[in-house]
């Protein structure tokens, strides 16, 4: 498939642009997404092409914005809600966790909520709003939660999310935004929601990771290759519902599992991944499962302690060494 090299955020915007051209019911609503172009250029160019009939700048009212999008979705529109940063999700929790995900099931399928909620999380070039709260949402039945790591997946998952008839929470990692550039297929490139992907095959240990940690895992895998250890890097991509089939297949092959995410380790997605493997593939494990995640403090502001806080490639390498100590 022909493609173009673009950044992660350019790929996200291309996915939105294509879906808006395809379906007049798709619109974007959020703060500073119009002439400003979105925080970190999250909507750059959309205002120029679609204007005020399809791009709606809101007051600082995340809860009302989410409710308006839910109401519009119940009336058959396909809203994309741009929540500038993940920590603002907290202001809209009732709509996102109590209302949007449950109404389809409660109404025996009569109500549909084709709502995409996109937001930025994680460490970024400016260091602001770094909290990774994905685990709050993977706990909630009825929400689909995605978190891509590459520009191609960013576009493909965004298009799939917009076409999906269920609420999809789309986490965009800020370090990837302008920092990762890669080939993105033109046109009809859809990445199915609910599928993990092996980004690098290996036979000795599986590192299941999300977003920026996928890149750090690939970096660690590259170094381990020199030591003769073959690391399989699994990008979870969809956090809910988890692609347990791909996860279990990988662990059954390698017999060892490290889970890595930037979010806090305690109660994080890694706990669910580890529990799933322990329940369903215990017999294949050759070593205890090791989780890599942030320590249990708030995210610190100063770069020095921020670096000390963030899980890094070294943390993944240490975890791989730990599980490799258990021989076959």
């Amino acid at each position: 498939m022909p493609g173009k090299r673009m950044t992660f955020v350019e790929a996200l915007v291309e996915g939105i642009r294509e879906e808006m051209r395809r379906d007049p019911n798709v619109f974007v609503l959020g703060q500073d997404i119009g002439p400003f172009g979105g925080s970190l250029r999250s909507t750059l160019g959309l205002w120029e092409e679609f204007g005020p009939a399809r791009i709606f700048d809101t007051p600082i009212s995340e809860s009302a914005a989410a409710g308006v999008c839910l109401g519009a979705a119940l009336e058959g529109l396909r809203p994309i809600l741009d929540i500038s940063f993940g920590e603002f999700l907290a202001s809209a929790m009732p709509q996102i966790v109590l209302h949007a995900p449950v109404v389809h099931w409660l109404t025996l399928g009569k109500a549909r909520v084709p709502l995409t909620i996109r937001t930025k999380v994680g460490e970024g070039p400016y260091g602001g709003h770094p909290q990774c709260f994905e685990a709050w949402f993977t706990h909630v039945p009825g929400l689909k939660v995605v978190m891509p790591s590459t520009p191609a997946d960013a576009k493909g998952l965004m298009k799939a999310a917009i076409r999906d008839d269920d609420p999809v929470l789309f986490f965009e990692h800020m370090y990837l935004y302008h920092g990762v550039r890669d080939v993105v297929p033109d046109g009809e490139h859809l990445v199915p929601i609910g599928r993990a992907e092996v980004k690098r095959p290996g036979k000795d240990v599986t590192v299941a990771a999300t977003a920026w940690m996928v890149h750090r895992a690939l970096q660690a895998a590259h170094q381990f290759a020199a030591e003769g250890i073959e690391v399989e890097v699994l990008d979870l991509r969809t956090l809910a519902p988890l692609d347990t089939a791909t996860l279990l297949a990988s662990v059954r092959k390698t017999g060892r599992l490290v889970v890595a995410h930037e979010a806090w380790k305690i109660g994080g997605l890694g706990a669910e991944v580890a529990a799933t493997v322990a329940e369903q593939a215990f017999g294949s494990l050759r070593a205890p499962i090791v989780r890599v995640g942030a320590p249990h403090t708030p995210v610190p502001a100063h770069p020095t302690i921020r670096r000390a806080f963030l899980p890094d490639a070294q943390g993944i390498a240490d975890a791989v060494h730990a599980v490799m100590k258990y021989a076959a």
Binding site: S63, G67, G71, H99, L108, P192, I193
Partner: protein, 321 residues
């Protein structure tokens, strides 16, 4: 004084039906939310809206609005009795609404989010360049939520076709409105959003209806929202089992004298539109209809454990790998 006799008689009939149904449901379920004494607000607000308008009634008294939209009494009873034929088949509240009739249900148990969801319905009406409107009602207690402020502010800023109605029944479970806010009139809050605020006698169905219809005309014409405060009173506890011992009996007795149905009947009798006998016939007919519908619903099948529906979470199923 009474311009459209047919309409007023229809509203009288709905209020009586609401009262009779509500009393019967309270007898059936200790957790039913009684609406006795507040009938003029839902009936006056939602009567006369078009089928393509969206209705989002406050939970207290909502069943009469569902009936106005085309739900049957038997379907209301199926919900109240927890039958398999209820909307949601036991998954949702007993008083839930059929969303296909353009009634927004209470999705979860918290108060307030429906105000912005209804604002979203009005947004969709504008987006589609339709002249349909949305009406949403909610309690005085809910009007203290941030949801109220954010939604009304946004609806006003965007001049959306919506009418916000505060069903001020004075009590949020055990919290009286005068202790919950320093505002003398909740309708005054409209000034803060730059929209008209109208306070009406919420026990006068014609006053409610007239105010709402004026607001609907404004909304349809593209002039944006109106905030209406309809002052009424919660004659019983928060739920049927609540004896409301936290408030003075004198207050309740004072409001008993302002009963919205009795007031309307007196007025209709004065105007020579509805005799005492005619009124009695309406009550008898409502009692019979409600009783028959209950008896019919009692014969409906019960909910089964297999109705849990573990595999019915998503509208778009996940593709098999």
């Amino acid at each position: 004084m009474i311009e459209d006799v047919k309409q007023v008689l229809a509203m009288h009939r709905l209020m009586v039906q609401s009262r009779v149904l509500d009393e019967a449901c309270c007898e059936e379920s200790a957790h039913w939310f009684p609406s006795q004494g507040e009938e003029a607000v839902p009936v006056g607000t939602f009567y006369g809206l078009r089928p393509d308008d969206v209705c989002a009634p406050a939970y207290r008294g909502a069943p009469i609005v569902y009936l106005m939209r085309g739900m049957t009494l038997e379907q209301v009873w199926a919900g109240a009795l927890g039958k398999r034929t209820s909307f949601g088949r036991g998954r949702h509240f007993s008083f839930t609404a059929p969303i296909e009739l353009r009634v927004f249900p209470y999705i979860a148990g918290d108060l307030g989010p429906i105000i912005s969801q209804a604002t979203g319905a009005a947004f969709a009406q504008r987006y589609r360049k339709s002249d349909a409107v949305t009406a949403v009602s909610f309690g005085d207690g809910t009007s203290n939520r941030g949801d109220f402020h954010e939604a009304v502010n946004l609806g006003a800023a965007w001049r959306l076709p919506i009418v916000y109605v505060i069903q001020n029944n004075h009590w949020a479970i055990s919290m009286p409105i005068e202790k919950a806010t320093a505002a003398k009139r909740l309708a005054d809050r409209a000034a803060g959003y730059g929209i008209p605020g109208v306070a009406v006698d919420g026990n006068d169905v014609l006053a409610v209806h007239t105010a709402v219809q004026e607001a609907v005309r404004r909304a349809r014409a593209g002039h944006g929202p109106t905030l209406i405060e309809a002052e009424t009173f919660r004659m019983r506890g928060h739920i049927a089992a609540d004896t409301a011992s936290y408030r003075a009996p004198e207050e309740v007795e004072e409001w008993r004298g302002r009963d919205p149905i009795q007031r309307l009947e007196a007025r209709l009798a004065d105007a020579g539109v509805l005799s005492a006998e005619d009124a009695q016939a309406v009550w008898a007919e409502a009692a019979q209809e409600v009783g028959e519908a209950k008896a019919a619903a009692q014969r409906h099948p019960d909910i089964l454990p297999t109705d849990l529906g573990l595999d019915e979470m998503f509208a778009t199923p996940l593709r098999e790998a």
